[in-house]
């Protein structure tokens, strides 16, 4: 890069070795090779190679340990993962009269029999169903748990990203003040981040406990016993929101620091100018602070989203994907299939889909910053 200037300096400076024989120096290329190889080898062996393997193996039937030879199966794994279908079930009718059960609900023929009769539905299982009048709309998937896991992951992302980023911005605003002891509070807000998510999950499992936990105690005390007790981790409706709350609490400290740096980067002149124009606290927040944090916010949202898509540990420690698959995630499904059931090929196909989602989000970020010339 600085070839020109170095040549100039070389000419200007009297070198001590001038005239004397140059000491032997191995060519620079050899140094580049020696110094860069360990890291490049590591990246290739443990990042690029497994990534390429994932892509290749997702088209095979590779297993972790298997006596059979691995074969190409084309798109079978992806077909199994992504196939979604639907059908409408007519109720069982006797001479035009719909048969009803004790609750007055229509009865339907067995779905499994129906699916077996029609070759178009081969391999499909029920994902979910809705009642439409007397008819029943059944949504089918070849791997209902994957579709469910994908939707659960989306639900987690959509809940945790605004919560965590909002919490982080609030905390950053709170500690962006010249007050005595403010560093102590910064340390406190940050302390969950350095605590392992495994440890946090275990401690929170206790706080979420249905009978003994703190959450139910306060909830019941505050509602005079009207609400609860809620089985936070045991109720399919509540399990994912409970994990969301804990995850946001654990990780908000990182985004808080990033927002804090962003806040401190906004010029004080802007605030002074706004004050001269008679702007109040809210008006300054809306017209100076938020626009000044735009780039920071986009970065925080995207990086939090990417991280949130990888949700695994909390689920593995607290709920093992249950109850009724309500907390199974893309990564949890990948590990269950690829490792616990040793179906490496299928797990690899899930990993590839996971990566494509991450890639799409990362490209979105790049596009945003490229457009702004940042």
């Amino acid at each position: 890069m600085n070839a020109d200037t170095s040549a100039l300096k070389g000419a200007a400076l009297p070198t001590p070795s001038s005239g004397a024989a140059e000491p032997y120096r191995p060519p620079r290329r050899r140094y580049v090779f020696l110094l860069s190889t360990p890291a490049l080898l590591g990246l290739f062996m443990f990042l690029i190679l497994p990534f390429l393997m994932a892509v290749v193996m997702s088209f095979t039937d590779q297993r972790l340990l298997s006596p059979n030879e691995t074969e190409w199966v084309g798109l079978r794994n992806y077909d199994r993962l992504l196939s979604v279908n639907w059908l409408v079930q007519e109720p069982v009718a006797d001479n035009g009269v719909v048969q009803r059960d004790a609750d007055g609900e229509p009865t339907y023929p067995r779905l499994r029999t129906l699916l077996r009769q029609d070759p178009a539905y081969e391999g499909y299982k029920e994902l979910t169903s809705w009642q439409l009048g007397d008819k029943r709309l059944v949504v089918l998937a070849k791997d209902p748990l994957f579709i469910k896991s994908f939707l659960n992951t989306l639900q987690f992302v959509l809940l945790v990203v605004p919560l965590q980023c909002g919490m982080a911005l609030g905390l950053a605003l709170l500690i962006n003040r010249q007050l005595k002891g403010i560093y102590l509070f910064r340390t406190i807000f940050f302390s969950p981040v350095v605590t392992s998510i495994v440890v946090v999950s275990i401690v929170w499992s206790f706080l979420y406990h249905r009978d003994l936990g703190l959450f139910n105690h306060y909830l019941q005390a505050m509602s005079f016993g009207l609400i609860g007790p809620i089985d936070w981790l045991g109720d399919p409706e509540w399990a994912m929101p409970s994990i969301v709350l804990m995850s946001a609490w654990q990780a908000a400290g990182v985004q808080m620091l990033i927002f804090l740096a962003g806040l401190q980067g906004i010029s004080a002149d802007l605030y002074e100018a706004a004050e001269l124009d008679g702007a109040g606290t809210w008006s300054k927040f809306w017209h100076v602070t938020l626009p000044g944090l735009k780039n920071t916010t986009v970065f925080v949202i995207i990086s939090t989203t990417i991280q949130a898509f990888g949700l695994f540990t909390q689920v593995d420690v607290m709920t093992r994907g249950g109850p009724q698959g309500s907390t199974s995630t893309v990564m949890y499904h990948a590990v269950t299939k690829g490792f616990r059931e040793q179906d490496i090929a299928y797990g690899s196909a899930i990993s590839v889909i996971f990566f494509l989602v991450i890639l799409a989000i990362a490209l979105l970020q790049k596009r945003f910053f490229d457009k702004r010339g940042g």
């Binding site: 140094y31 110094l35 860069s36 360990p38 890291a39 590591g42 500690i175 495994v198 990993s351």
Partner: protein
């Protein structure tokens, strides 16, 4: 700020501080209490105060019931091994990328930056197959033997995590901004590239080495998804899978809290000792990343 406003601000800070500190204090305090007292104190401020009948009995039980010291030793070896090797290997590549001219440099740099978006989660499944087929040297009854797989070893938890594209990038950014005059002067005196790295770049790069060491330490100490897959046996198990297994054994809550405190204390100690550096590292890494 008026006094009243100040007071209100402090009240807010304390309220949020309580929310963020409660679970950790509760964990540390409960680890010292007998089971009944944990429950008796739970719904009052006593839950986070070290009061009542305190003892190390829970810790004694944990040591008796699980191989926590072995797991702890494993985690120390894995973490220190990876961090030390990583500092060396990653900074060397960053050095060649930022301070030396060579053909292909730009492509390698772009590749390193592109690799930052591949999350560990996306490659654990194929990585498992890969390491299960890699041979390694092991010891059995004092004899050196060639083992057929990397599974259940310490190296399977170290080597894949030494080279890290994000850390290479952090080193690269820092080295790039050091004025080139120093290298050029040294080069004229006949210094080799390695001597320039060793005697000029490293002494000037304390902050970035500290940042990477801290981030790498956190990453490695808290490893979970990879060891639960690659390490089935007890011999090479680190602390986080260890506590998960202990948690699943339906032992007393006091003992679980003792286990959790024991594996958290090293990180908390490092955090409190190097607080400023820690905070700066993570904030800086976030912004630049």
């Amino acid at each position: 700020m008026t006094q009243l406003k100040k007071l209100g601000w402090y009240l807010l800070l304390i309220a949020f501080g309580y929310v963020f500190l409660f679970p950790l204090l509760f964990m540390l305090v409960s680890s010292l209490k007998p089971e009944q007292e944990i429950f008796a104190d739970l719904y009052s401020i006593r839950a986070i105060l070290p009061v009542g009948e305190l003892s190390l009995e829970n810790y004694r039980q944990v040591f008796a019931k699980s191989d926590i010291l072995l797991y702890f030793r494993n985690s120390v070896l894995i973490t220190s091994g990876t961090v030390v090797l990583g500092l060396f290997v990653n900074s060397l590549l960053a050095f060649t990328l930022s301070r030396m001219e060579w053909s292909g440099r730009k492509y390698v740099l772009s590749a390193v930056i592109a690799l930052m978006i591949i999350p560990l989660e996306a490659i654990v499944v194929p990585l498992l197959l890969l390491v299960s087929k890699l041979p390694t040297i092991g010891w059995e009854q004092g004899m050196m033997v060639l083992k057929g797989s990397w599974l259940n070893t310490l190296e399977v938890q170290i080597l894949p995590f030494v080279a890290n594209s994000f850390f290479i990038f952090l080193f690269y950014q820092f080295f790039r901004d050091i004025p080139k005059d120093f290298d050029e002067a040294a080069e004229l005196d006949g210094a080799t590239p390695f001597q320039i790295y060793r005697h000029i770049i490293v002494p000037m790069s304390g902050p970035v080495f500290a940042t990477v060491a801290i981030l790498h330490f956190l990453l490695m100490w808290n490893q979970y998804i990879w060891p639960i897959m690659a390490v089935q046996g007890e011999d090479a198990r680190p602390v986080m899978p260890g506590i998960q297994i202990f948690f699943g054994r339906q032992v007393g809550w006091g003992e679980i809290m003792a286990y959790a405190s024991f594996v958290t204390l090293p990180v908390l100690a490092v955090f409190l000792a190097f607080q400023k550096m820690f905070v700066r590292s993570l904030a800086g890494a976030g912004i630049k990343g």
